[in-house]
Symmetry: C2
Subunit: 237 residues, 2 copies
DNA sequence: CGTTCTCTTGAGATCCCTCAACACCTGTGG
DNA sequence: CCACAGGTGTTGAGGGATCTCAAGAGAACG
């Protein structure tokens, strides 16, 4: 129902100041300088825990935050990886629905809840920008449902690599060489697999000639077309 | 970040007219009478298809709409079941991201896109109500990620039954007897299982004494506590 | 140059899927 | 009233993808 970013800038120019360029993924919170504090997190440090009372919404500036939920016996499902520009904590009510942990050294902007509420009341375009952003995240999460529910391990990993490639490269679409800021363990908990299966699947994609494993957690996408076929379940591998 | 319905009605009373009572699940679109048309769908009829240009947002009045995505080879993942009051099509941009099919005889309200956009511009509270609704749906979808990624078949079905029980009963929370408006096939495609596994799992829950299978697609929840334990992975069954 | 953490690889176990048969229900038509 | 067909749900037997357990290989770091 939401128009594209460029269209909505015509239709409702109120939204424009809050969206960075044509990129729906980025809500521009630079305006709210008055009440924003930056916070630095080191590897494995938590930004918040599931069930705790919510105090802030966060926007990632640098690094990656993993958003996850846990079952009683320790099984974990990572729901999302928040990259720079991403906003965390928009879908909770009163309490955080999930925990947020820094995968590596990370910087976030902390926006107090009342600042968000104030902005929503005073700036009509702001709420719309948040709606646009949240709707986009919902679409993304539904895509992930398909992976978890119906794709094989190979298809899941291929989908994941394409997703990372889109996210991490920023401007250059489908970069040939992508860096993977998460460990096997975190990929496994995102894809609903075990680390062993993730590892084996990386090996499988490598021996198919689709990717190359480079040092420093980097991956080269050798055959992007084939990777997309696999990701969409159109490959008879 | 979003305050509870009741709080936000104080904080921002603009939202109030658009939310039914305390129920975040229901956005009140009764105001937009001018441009709303009701449409009736029979069993298996489609409301829209994935990839088609979006023309409307829909609110279910009666019946249930299944929202699904398909892979090339026919594998299907149902992302959501839209019950009366639910809104469908808020997270798409230009084109529908998924298909919508009526599970049974269904009535929906059709709201043209431009009506939504107009309302968002003229009524500040409306956009906020939609944000609240969308955020709620996102939280719901993330919960489903945990099921698909990390739960066993039994845990998935238990989670599903509780979800249905909460949704369908409306006022009476955790009704003892719930009616399941979807076939085994649709439950399977929602939970990432096969119909056979769903059927076997129903039988297993029945022989554990947790549920009873009644005629007319009804299920009695005999031991709600145990069902919740199973759903949360705390059961050693 | 050990220690620690992460990743890879192997072998066997397990959960769920696939294939197949059967049961049940409903409506239709002889 | 019975026979039959089609849709839906249940149950069984065997197979396969992924998990579990276990060991070893690299990489990072003091």
């Amino acid at each position: 129902m939401l128009t594209t970013a460029s269209t909505s800038m015509n239709a409702s120019s109120l939204v424009a100041p809050w969206i960075s360029g044509d990129n729906i993924d980025h809500v521009n919170l630079g305006h709210t300088v008055s009440c924003m504090v930056e916070r630095t997190l080191s590897e494995h440090e938590h930004l918040f825990f599931e069930g705790k009372r919510q105090t802030h919404v966060y926007q990632v500036v640098e690094g990656v935050i993993g958003i996850y939920k846990m079952l009683a016996d320790g099984r974990r499902q990572i729901c999302n990886f928040a990259y720079p520009g991403d906003i965390v904590g928009l879908d909770t009510i009163g309490k955080y629905n999930y925990s947020g942990e820094a995968l590596n050294d990370t910087v976030v902007r902390c926006i107090p809840l009342n600042a968000i509420e104030k902005l929503m009341r005073s700036e009509p375009g702001f709420g719309q920008a948040l709606l646009l952003y949240t709707a986009n995240e919902l679409a993304d999460t539904r895509e992930q449902l398909v992976s978890l529910g119906r794709k094989t391990a190979t298809e899941k990993l291929a989908t994941f690599l394409l997703r990372i490639s889109r996210r991490s490269s920023g401007l250059e679409n489908h970069a040939q060489v992508i860096s993977i800021p998460m460990r096997r363990c975190e990929i496994a908990d995102f894809l609903g697999l075990t680390i062993e299966t993730v590892s084996r699947t990386f090996t499988r994609l490598k021996s198919c000639g689709v990717i190359k494993l480079l040092p420093n957690t980097q991956v080269a996408i050798v055959d992007g077309k084939k990777l997309e076929c696999i990701a969409n379940g159109q490959s008879m591998v």
